[in-house]
């Protein structure tokens, strides 16, 4: 379980505005709650449970501190301006960093589901339970993110 600590901190940090210390506190609290859970209640979906608890706690923290970022449904169409894209000619060694930079330009809700899908390896259904979005909405957000990223990458080709 402890190998999920750093990925969870990274995930939560994005939800709380990049505050690693606060993200660490949230993850620590989630692990403590996990230790107090009956094994039967988390068996088979422990990682999903951790992400769900961390996300809910992060949203509580952000709301409490007035730094809430919009994660509600219906914001999937929000696309940031394309003027901050990385450079046109991509070196082979920089491709991955460029892709991550493109992901950073996506709306927050798209970034979140893209990371849960392609970084944490969750399925649409698991992402739906973590984010409390419908499965179809998760699919729509990922579809829109993929479409945007493809367009951005194509625009960067020399």
């Amino acid at each position: 379980m402890r190998e999920h600590q750093a990925p969870l901190v990274r995930y939560v940090a994005r939800l709380v505005g990049g505050d690693l210390g606060r993200a660490q506190d949230v993850v620590q609290d989630a692990f403590l709650r996990l230790c107090q859970q009956p094994a039967e209640e988390v068996r088979g979906h422990t990682v999903e449970w951790l992400y769900t608890v961390c996300r809910n706690r992060a949203i509580d923290v952000v709301r409490k501190e007035g730094r809430m970022r919009a994660f509600a449904e219906g914001e999937a169409d929000q696309v940031s301006a394309a003027d901050a894209r990385p450079g046109r000619a991509l070196e082979a060694a920089e491709t991955q960093a460029a892709v991550r930079a493109l992901i950073e330009q996506l709306p927050a809700n798209q970034q979140e589901v893209v990371r849960l899908k392609f970084q944490s390896g969750f399925s649409y259904k698991e992402i739906s339970r973590i984010t409390q979005l419908s499965v179809s909405n998760v699919g729509y957000l990922i579809h829109m993110a993929v479409k945007q990223l493809r367009a951005d990458l194509a625009a960067q080709q020399p």
Binding site: M1, R2, Q5, A6, P7, V9, R10, A13, L20, A23, Q24, V27, Q28, F31, L32, L34, C35, Q37, P38, A39, V42, R43, T46, T95, Q96, A97, V99, R100, I103, V114, R115, K117, F118, Q119, S123, Y124, S136, G139, Y140, I142, H143, V146, K147, L149, R150, L153
Partner: protein, 187 residues
């Protein structure tokens, strides 16, 4: 001529490319993709981008995190579950039984250490002594002597005869006095 009903903008196409559809839905989309080369190209492009996203995000550095402070007594549910079957009651039961035997053996009033010389027996000796049947009574009778006899005093050296306090050696009813003490022990 069959016309494709699926648009390249259909989110089901991404779900199909990423393996997120059920078997029935996947079969339906696969039939559409098989009929339309544009959809097939779209699926290939989505899958290729999915691979790029995975590798790019996998290479993202993780934040340095301090160790979790969960306390010494707190364990993860999986660990707690695996230890639940350890037979602590067996260990505690065996320990209690061993302690009871030790106390019984070490007690001065214990029948297990009731030796004629008052010496302390080992636990094994005491248990063997307790488990062995009582010695058979001799077939001879004791008689009182007025004074210790020389032969009886001599035999007291090997413990088979009388002692120096005037006890007579056992005498068989039909035999000579003090002559068959050691043989009588074997009967």
């Amino acid at each position: 001529m069959s016309e494709s009903k699926m648009s390249p903008d259909d989110p089901r196409l991404s779900a199909f490319a990423l393996g997120e559809l059920s078997a029935a839905e996947s079969a339906a989309v696969a039939a559409e993709v098989a009929r339309d080369p544009a959809l097939a190209a779209e699926v290939s492009a989505i899958q290729a981008l999915g691979g790029d996203l995975k590798s790019a995000l996998a290479a993202e550095p993780l934040p340095v995190t301090p160790p979790l402070e969960l306390g010494e007594q707190i364990e993860f549910p999986s660990v707690r579950r695996s230890r639940k079957h350890f037979p602590f009651y067996w260990v505690s039961g065996l320990a209690a039984a061993g302690f009871a035997v030790l106390v019984l053996v070490q007690s001065p009033d214990s029948p297990l250490v009731d030796t004629p010389q008052g010496a302390t027996l080992s636990t094994a000796d005491a248990l063997l002594r307790r488990a062995s049947p009582p010695a058979p009574k001799p077939m001879w009778r004791r008689r009182r002597c007025a004074a210790p006899r020389r032969a009886a005093v001599d035999r007291s050296v090997d413990g088979t005869g009388s002692d120096s306090r005037g006890q007579c050696a056992p005498v068989r009813k039909t035999g000579r006095a003090g002559a068959t003490g050691s043989r009588g022990d074997r009967s």
